[in-house]
């Protein structure tokens, strides 16, 4: 069987037969793919610790008839800090679920950039940030940019009118913000404040290090969460299940 090596992040896993698991992996060289981890459910297996979501692996895979098989595996980072509280666990789970929902299997377009962005986001989620969702939203905006879905935030999608320092509307189906005159053109629009618009524009501008210092007010936080939630739902072909769970964890103050 021909083999190949790559770096990978575990996005998800499901059981196969009595002892095995199928892992959904985001690989740095070949895109998203499913591979079999043989014996991963036996307690003493070297692979058992390697199949948890958001673990980073160095892999050797063997090309199989239907699914490729993990032949060698080394954990490069198991991200223990992401497993230290419910907020981090949930946000990292959402990040992996989102990648699984938005990236097509074996699609290698921009895959290295997406992979590196994801690794950076997981590391950022391990650190302290003023607003717990800023690393996650920063990741979402950058991912949307790479995938070519970046919402229009500086001018009205329909008339090009420059928008800043004012109340505007947001519509996922129109792909961004709308001026007050055009808001009613989209049935899914909702109003966002000038402050919220400013923070959204900041997300697109600020570097990764500054993300952790963003500190919007409570109203803006609700709006920004909603903007991203509706936008991601609109661009995903299937339900992003973890999004509801994330909302309930946020509502509990995590």
């Amino acid at each position: 069987m021909p083999t190949y090596t790559t770096d990978a992040i575990v996005l998800g896993r499901r059981n196969l037969g009595e002892h095995d698991r199928i892992l959904t992996l985001l690989t740095r060289d070949y895109g998203k793919l499913n591979a079999v981890a043989k014996g991963a459910r036996k307690g003493n297996s070297k692979l058992s610790g390697a199949t948890e979501p958001f673990t980073q692996l160095k892999l050797m895979l063997a090309t199989g008839r239907s699914l490729d098989i993990i032949s060698q595996c080394e954990i490069s980072n198991s991200h223990p800090a992401l497993r230290s509280d419910i907020g981090r666990l949930t946000r990292s789970s959402y990040l992996c679920d989102l990648l699984d929902c938005l990236i097509h299997e074996r699609d290698e377009t921009s895959i290295k950039a997406i992979y590196d962005l994801s690794v950076a986001a997981l590391s950022l989620l391990e650190k302290e940030s003023v607003w717990k969702d800023s690393p996650l939203h920063g990741f979402e905006f950058r991912l949307l940019t790479i995938l070519g879905y970046m919402p229009v935030l500086n001018h009205c999608v329909l008339c090009d009118m420059e928008l800043s320092d004012q109340m505007v509307a947001f519509s996922a189906s129109q792909g961004g913000v709308l001026c007050p005159q055009h808001a009613s053109a989209a049935s899914d629009h909702f109003g966002i404040s000038a402050d919220t618009l400013q923070t959204l524009q900041d997300f697109a501008r600020v570097g990764t290090e500054k993300l952790c210092n963003l500190n919007p007010g409570p109203q803006s936080i609700l709006h920004i969460n909603r903007v991203l939630r509706e936008f991601m739902k609109y661009h995903s072909e299937r339900t992003i299940k973890s999004i509801e769970f994330l909302e309930s964890i946020r509502a509990m103050g995590n």
């Binding site: 307690g43 003493n44 070297k46 610790g49 497993r83 419910i86 789970s93 992996c96 769970f245």
Partner: protein, 197 residues
């Protein structure tokens, strides 16, 4: 060439069982087909009987064929200590140690962000009145997985305000394990759970 309809139906029912692929389902279906009638009837009856006679214990949500499960009806059990597990099979594993003398609570699953399994889908609401009824220590014995840890943190945050002592079982190297082969997360938790000797 297709399977005759009743056979195809059996294959597709078997395929829905966990861990059973199309090939195994076909093998099992043909086995059943060749079995004497009584043996096949025994299997069918066993399946129906499980559905009819097994229910959840109204106290701990363990599967039982009694009014109240064996553990809950045992008067020698220490009702001040409660061990929370995900599944009945975890309860049985704990019981096999012979070390634990308290009572249990079976959640019937784990919280899962990725599958959107939320607290209201598990036996969590049922936990609180039991704790208020004289429990002073809760041991969370859940798997060291993403789902197990999510559930552990959630329960800890809900239980601690009740003034009850909450602990989590130790996670680390398995007995007979090998340091060299342990992953980072396992070693870190083994370090975290170290104790003076």
């Amino acid at each position: 060439m297709h399977f005759a309809k009743p056979l195809a139906r059996l294959v597709s029912e078997l395929e829905r069982l966990p861990g059973i692929g199309p090939k195994s389902a076909q093998r099992m279906a043909f086995h059943i087909l060749r079995q004497p009638r009584e043996e096949a009837a025994q299997l069918a009856n066993a399946i129906l009987q499980v559905k009819e006679s097994i229910r959840l214990c109204p106290e701990c949500s363990n599967f039982t064929d009694q009014e109240i499960c064996e553990v809950c009806s045992d008067t020698r059990r220490d009702r001040a200590i409660m061990c929370v597990v995900a599944e009945t099979r975890d309860l049985i594993a704990m019981e096999k140690t012979g070390e634990y003398k308290g009572i249990y609570h079976v959640l019937q699953g784990l919280l899962s962000p990725m599958d959107n399994i939320t607290p209201d889908m598990l036996k969590i609401r049922e936990l609180f009145p039991r704790i208020m009824n004289g429990v002073n220590e809760v041991i969370l014995a859940l798997n060291p997985t993403t789902e197990g840890q999510t559930t552990t943190f959630y329960l800890a945050s809900r239980l601690k305000p009740l003034g009850v002592k909450v602990s989590q079982i130790a996670h680390g190297l398995p007995a007979g394990g090998d340091l060299e082969y342990a992953d980072q997360a396992t070693l870190i938790s083994a370090l975290e759970w170290r104790r003076e000797i």
